[in-house]
C-alpha cells in the first residue's frame, strides 16, 4: 500500500497500483484512467474534510 505520496491530486499512485498486476493483457491506459479518476476523488474528499469542514 502506498502511504507516502505528498503529491497534490494523488493518494495511491498508479505506479504503485500497477505493481500489483503480473501483467495487463489489454489496454493499460483504460485501467490507469479509471484508477486515477477515483483516486483523485479520494484526494479531493480527504482535503475537503480539512478545508471545507
Amino acid at each position: 500500500m502506498a502511504e507516502k505520496t505528498s503529491v497534490p491530486g494523488v493518494c495511491f499512485p498508479w505506479e504503485e497500483k500497477k505493481k500489483e498486476y503480473e501483467e495487463i493483457k489489454g489496454d493499460e491506459e483504460i485501467v490507469k484512467t479509471w484508477w486515477e479518476q477515483y483516486d483523485v476523488h479520494a484526494y479531493v474528499h480527504l482535503w475537503f474534510c480539512v478545508i471545507g469542514l
Binding site: 502511504e3 505520496t5 497534490p8 483523485v40 474528499h45 482535503w47
Partner: protein
C-alpha cells in the same frame, strides 16, 4: 415583456463579472454572503438548515426569490452540514439542535492545549514529509469519534464512519451542483463563488495546531512552522483550482483569519502568513481564477502588502477595516466588497441601512469595482427587514 430567468441570469452575470474586473457595470452588484439568515428569510431554524441539506439549499432559493435585487449569492453558506459531520462523528463542532439551541449558529471548538491538539508539536516532521498521509492516518482519526488510526484495533464504527462519510460528502456535492442550476433556472441568480482557498498558515493554525499551539510554535520551532506552510501550499492551490469555476466567470473564496492584526504582529504576518499565501494566490491567478480575500477582522497595517499581488488578481472584502481607507490603499489595483455593518443590520432600522447603502454606492459606484455586501457573513441575528432594505436600496440607487 418580462425578462426570462435566463436573460436575468445573463444580465446579472455580466454585471458581477464587470465589477469583479474593476469595470463599471450598469448597476452595483448585490452579492450578500448570507448563512443562517437565508434560513430565517425562508422560515427555517438554524437547526433545520444545518441538519437537512435540502432545506439549507432551499433556503437560498427562497432568499433569492424574496429579497430584491440579489445578483449573486452563495449556494449554501451554512457549510457545516450534520449529514456529513455526524456521519463520522466529527468532534470539533457544536451544532444547533444538539449541543446548542435550535436557533443558534454552529460553533467551532478549538482544542485548548497541546494534549488535545489534532496535531502535536512532535508531529511536524511527519506532517511536512507527507501531508496527505498525515491527514488520512493521523488527523482524521483524531478529529473523529469513530475512526481509528492504522495499527490500532479496527472497529465496526470505524468501518461505518469511512463508508458513511464518503456517501454523505458525495451526496452533498451532488446537491450543491443541482442547487447552482436551480438558482439559475428558478431565480436568475449567479452562484457567487466556486472553489475554496485557505492560507497555509490559517490551515495550520485553525485545523491542525490551534491558535495557542501556533502562537508557541512560531517562537519555539519557527523553521518547522515555515516548512509546514510550504508543505501545505501546493495542496491548497491544487484543491482550489480543481474545484473552481471551469468557465472562470466567478471567483474562488479565501476565508482569512490569523493574519488579521489582532492576532499577530506585522513581523509574524510577513514571515509566516504572507509568503505562501502570495505564492498560492499567484498560482491560482495564473490559472485564470480571481480570489476573494474575505478578510475577517481588521487587516489595516497589512493592507499595503497585498499590493504585491498582480492587478485584479483578488477582490478585497472589507470587514472591520475602514472601507474608505481600504479604497485609498488598494482601490487602484483591486475591486472591493462589503461596507454595511452587521451591527446595523442586526440592531438598526431599514432607513439606516438604506442611507448607508446609498452612501456606499455614491462613493464607490462611479469608479466601478465595487460589490455591495455586509461587512461579515450574515447570520440569524440580522433583521429580515434590514436585509430586504439592502436589496431595495441597491435597486433604487445602484444604477450608476
Amino acid at each position: 415583456m418580462a425578462k426570462s430567468m435566463e436573460d436575468l441570469y445573463q444580465e446579472r452575470m455580466e454585471r458581477y463579472k464587470k465589477a469583479n474586473r474593476m469595470e463599471k457595470p450598469d448597476k452595483v452588484p448585490f452579492r450578500p454572503f448570507a448563512a443562517e439568515l437565508a434560513g430565517k428569510v425562508a422560515g427555517y431554524t438554524a437547526q433545520q438548515v444545518t441538519h437537512d441539506p435540502d432545506l439549507g439549499l432551499d433556503a437560498v432559493i427562497k432568499m433569492c426569490e424574496r429579497v430584491p435585487g440579489i445578483d449573486a449569492a452563495v449556494v449554501n453558506m451554512v457549510y457545516v452540514n450534520t449529514s456529513v459531520t455526524e456521519s463520522y462523528g466529527l468532534k470539533y463542532y457544536r451544532v444547533p439542535g444538539i449541543q446548542l439551541d435550535a436557533d443558534d449558529s454552529f460553533q467551532y471548538m478549538e482544542p485548548q492545549n497541546d494534549e488535545e491538539a489534532f496535531m502535536k508539536v512532535e508531529d511536524y516532521e511527519r506532517f511536512i514529509e507527507d501531508p496527505n498521509e498525515f491527514v488520512m492516518n493521523v488527523w482524521l482519526p483524531r478529529t473523529s469519534n469513530y475512526m481509528v488510526p492504522p495499527g490500532e484495533e479496527n472497529t465496526w464504527k470505524n468501518n461505518l464512519a469511512w463508508m458513511k462519510n464518503g456517501i454523505a460528502i458525495q451526496q452533498y456535492f451532488q446537491k450543491l451542483g443541482a442547487n447552482v442550476g436551480r438558482m439559475r433556472t428558478d431565480t436568475g441568480t449567479v452562484s457567487a463563488i466556486a472553489g475554496a482557498l485557505k492560507a497555509p498558515f490559517d490551515i495550520l493554525a485553525d485545523k491542525f495546531r490551534g491558535f495557542r499551539g501556533i502562537a508557541y510554535d512560531i517562537r519555539r520551532c519557527p523553521e518547522k512552522v515555515l516548512k509546514a506552510t510550504e508543505a501545505i501550499a501546493p495542496h491548497m492551490a491544487w484543491n482550489c483550482i480543481a474545484t473552481a469555476d471551469p468557465s472562470r466567470n466567478v471567483p474562488c473564496s479565501h476565508w482569512m483569519h490569523r493574519g488579521a492584526t489582532g492576532f499577530f504582529s506585522e513581523e509574524v504576518f510577513q514571515k509566516f502568513y504572507w509568503p505562501t499565501l502570495k505564492q498560492v494566490t499567484e498560482q491560482i491567478w495564473g490559472a485564470g481564477i480571481q480570489t476573494i480575500y474575505y478578510a475577517e477582522g481588521k487587516w489595516a497595517r497589512n493592507l499595503k502588502t497585498f499590493r504585491e499581488l498582480p492587478d485584479k488578481s483578488i477582490i478585497f472584502h472589507c470587514d472591520k477595516d475602514d472601507i474608505y481607507e481600504v479604497k485609498r490603499v488598494l482601490g487602484d489595483k483591486f475591486p472591493i466588497s462589503g461596507g454595511v455593518p452587521n451591527d446595523m443590520l442586526a440592531f438598526g432600522e431599514p432607513a439606516d441601512v438604506k442611507k448607508r447603502v446609498k452612501q456606499l454606492i455614491q462613493d464607490f459606484g462611479p469608479d466601478g469595482g465595487y460589490i455591495l455586501d455586509a461587512e461579515a457573513i450574515m447570520q440569524q441575528d440580522v433583521k429580515v427587514e434590514n436585509f430586504i432594505a439592502m436589496g431595495e436600496a441597491c435597486e433604487e440607487y445602484g444604477y450608476i
